[in-house]
């Protein structure tokens, strides 16, 4: 197994840092030209972390339900992210995480296992830069959950090139768009999985310049909603950021669980009608936009529902039942989503037509608990 071992030295980091800054200055962030070069007979591959009886895998399922990737992982994982140029998937350990595994999803070979720096923890989410050169992860300092985004150089054995502060604690999902990092600072100080600061949380959204780490904008959750942890998000082509939250306050409270944000504006909080909002059990697991970027799907595994939201009109659309549903992915069809569940079910959902179709899965994959997030690739 290949272990990245040269991440620790300050000198190395300084070299990497200079290289990173040089490339940034030269404007070498290229746009994506195509997902894969060899897509002559490409077929979709749905990739997710999955578990069963304390064993954990990276799972890839094609559109016939056949398992194409079944790669063992050292512990429970969270988010999966695709490399834009190579048939690689990066899977991040569930927080407090100690590895990021990069795997070739075509042949099931390990590309790298990236350990966490001493004193830090992976927080479950990663992205690649559009040119595929950089792998970026949310991390936190183990002692106080101080948030970090860490940029690793894919071409230098994933050596650390930069570490930026996220301007908050307990960062979770991150996005990288137009040379800007968007970070969900959940605001929760954790030790292991125990939450330590629920009375003094300050969740925020941070926009950081990718090249310099400069904080371009930070939006805090309004004080009256300070226990609404910002955790997951997705961005539409018109610059609307759709956010899914988790409430850490009294179980009787009726709090908005979805928010929208545009640069330079305050957060726009959205609540489903009261009874539906209750059904969401104050908890959203994942949020993804459809291929048109106009509809957001939000999973609430505790309430066994997926809710759908109209982004341009900033309102709740409808909900669908999905027991323990959490992982979401858009298909190529506008308005259409795939949803996975911890019960090993896979659905195609369309909120416009209210269709919900159970998709075939091979029996072994259907026995697995599909974890939090999934991604659609093609092989």
């Amino acid at each position: 197994m290949f272990l990245v071992s040269n991440w620790g030295s300050t000198a190395v980091m300084e070299t990497n840092r200079r290289r990173f800054m040089g490339l940034m200055a030269a404007g070498l962030m290229l746009p994506v030209t195509g997902v894969l070069a060899n897509t002559g007979r490409s077929r979709p591959l749905l990739i997710s972390a999955a578990s069963h009886a304390n064993r954990h895998w990276l799972l890839g399922t094609d559109d016939t339900g056949a398992t194409r990737l079944h790669y063992p992982l050292p512990s429970r994982a969270h988010h999966v992210e695709l490399h834009p140029r190579q048939p690689w998937v990066a899977v991040a350990a569930r927080r407090p995480g100690d590895y990021i595994e990069v795997v070739d999803y075509q042949n099931g070979h390990q590309i790298a296992r990236i350990p966490v720096d001493p004193g830090y923890l992976f927080n479950g989410h990663v992205v690649f830069s559009d040119d595929g050169r950089w792998l970026v992860s949310t991390e936190e300092r183990a002692s106080d959950s101080a948030g970090q985004v860490v940029i690793r150089d894919v071409e230098q054995s994933f050596a650390i090139a930069e570490r930026y502060s996220t301007g908050g604690i307990g960062p979770h999902e991150l996005l990288l768009h137009n040379n800007e990092l968007i970070i969900a600072n959940g605001g929760i100080h954790t030790h292991g999985r125990e939450k330590l600061n629920l009375d003094s949380m300050e969740p925020s959204l941070a926009y950081l310049d990718f090249a310099s780490g400069r904080l371009n904008e930070q939006v805090f959750m309004p004080a009256e909603h300070f226990q609404l942890s910002i955790r997951h998000m997705d961005l539409n082509p018109d610059g609307i950021l759709a956010i899914a939250m988790q409430y850490q306050g009294d179980s009787g409270d009726h709090k908005p669980l979805v928010a929208l944000h545009r640069r330079g504006q305050p957060l726009q909080l959205l609540a489903a009608p009261e009874a539906i909002n209750r059904q969401m059990k104050q908890y959203c697991g994942s949020i993804r936009l459809d291929s048109s970027g106009q509809i957001a799907a939000v999973s609430s595994p505790r309430g066994h529902v997926v809710t759908f939201w109209d982004l341009p009109r900033a309102r709740f659309l409808t909900m669908m039942h999905c027991r323990d549903g959490c992982g979401l992915s858009a298909t190529g069809q506008p308005g259409e989503f795939l949803a996975s569940s911890g019960l090993g079910h896979l659905y195609r959902m369309n909120p416009r037509t209210h269709e919900r179709e159970r998709l075939p899965l091979d029996p072994a994959a259907a026995r697995l608990h599909w974890d939090h997030h999934m991604k659609l690739a093609s092989v």
């Binding site: 390990q110 988790q246 595994p301 505790r302």
Partner: protein, 358 residues
């Protein structure tokens, strides 16, 4: 990049893992006859209980109408008894949280609880002060806190209920809410009759039936924690001094304890009271001991609850009763654990992502 590209996990390893997993999938002793199991539970447990909710709600609607034609003490008493019967019927099927009861948020319309922010009181005041007709259109837009049993309880069990019912729009609203409850209850009952024929037939295909069985199992297992946490521990708080009797469900009518007993009686029936049952499945899966422990837990809980002598809103503040209630909450925890073990034995997975957040 090629230098980092080492081949560590040969394809055969993945293949081995798949074979192992396939083995796991078939490890359970013998797959129960889920179509038969579901059919029995729906015919003998769900349908009779929805029928009971339907008929008691109709009676409640009639008693409320009678009360409001001539509000007097005796008619009020009759309406209160009808409310109690119908509320107990709801408590006896509240554990089923899938199917028609979920459509249009009927579950919340029937009972919006807990209401920690006292939304019900505010909504009730506003509704009584408005001059809108209390018709279908009103209920389509009204807060769920004003639509069901708790709102009706406030109207019928208030200290000065009779006086209030004799003036203003209280009686009009009482009749309207009772009729609305009856309407919802009837709709759920009718829709379940159709659903039973279509989805819970003994000829249902095995895979679909196995999925539906998970919903039935969740109806058995998941309510225990809710009963313990919301209906007991929250109102009990840490001590008799800090107890919060107003957090009890149905404290105005003094039915908090009856509610819990109805819940547990229903769960007990769901566990072992039908011709096919979880109890039997456990015995067939060589877990007779666990099955016996669960039966014993239900018996012990019912006995312990029957020994709480005063209304729960008084009992939570009494040292002696508090000790008994702590014991009951421990027994509930134990039953919860036992039922989760039962699910493990039967290979039923109720939740994964719902268990633990991220």
């Amino acid at each position: 990049m090629q230098s980092t590209h080492t081949r560590m996990w040969p394809v055969w390893l993945a293949a081995t893992a798949l074979v192992l997993l396939a083995g796991l999938a078939h490890a359970s002793p013998q797959e129960p006859d889920w179509p038969h199991f579901n059919h029995q539970l729906v015919q003998q447990h769900l349908l009779p209980r929805y029928a009971q909710l339907d008929s008691t709600a109709t009676a409640l609607s009639q008693a409320s109408a009678t009360l409001c034609r001539a509000p007097n003490q005796q008619a009020l008493q009759t309406a209160r008894e009808a409310w109690f019967d119908s509320m107990q019927a709801w408590q006896g099927i509240q554990h089923v949280q899938f199917g028609p009861v979920q459509f249009l948020m009927r579950n919340f319309s029937l009972e919006f609880w807990p209401d920690r922010k006292n939304i019900g009181a505010r909504q009730l005041r506003q509704t009584l002060a408005s001059d809108l007709p209390y018709d279908d259109e009103f209920f389509r837009h009204a807060s769920v806190s004003i639509q069901g049993f708790p709102a009706l309880e406030r109207l019928l069990f208030d200290d000065n209920a009779l006086q209030h019912l004799q003036q203003g729009r209280s009686c009009e609203l009482t009749t309207a809410i009772a009729a609305h409850i009856a309407q919802i209850s009837q709709a759920i009952h009718q829709e379940w009759q159709t659903k039973a024929l279509n989805e819970f037939s003994p000829k249902q295909d095995t895979d679909t039936a196995a999925d539906l069985a998970v919903e039935l199992m969740a109806s058995l297992v998941e309510p225990i924690e809710v009963i313990r946490d919301s209906k007991l521990l929250k109102p009990m708080a840490d001590s008799t001094q800090t107890a919060k009797p107003k957090l009890l469900e149905s404290h105005r009518s003094g039915s908090s304890l009856a509610n819990i007993r109805s819940n547990l009686a229903a769960l007990n029936e769901l566990y072992q009271g039908t011709d096919a049952s979880v109890d039997q499945l456990l015995q067939q899966a060589d877990a007779a001991e666990l099955a016996r422990d669960i039966r014993l837990s239900f018996t012990n809980l019912d006995r312990a609850l029957s020994q709480i002598s005063s209304p729960l809103k008084i009992a939570v503040a009494q040292p002696e009763a508090h000790v008994q209630l702590v014991k009951i909450s421990t027994q509930l925890k134990q039953l919860n654990d036992q039922l989760h073990s039962a699910m493990d034995v039967l290979g039923i997975q109720l939740g994964f992502n719902s268990r633990d957040g991220d």
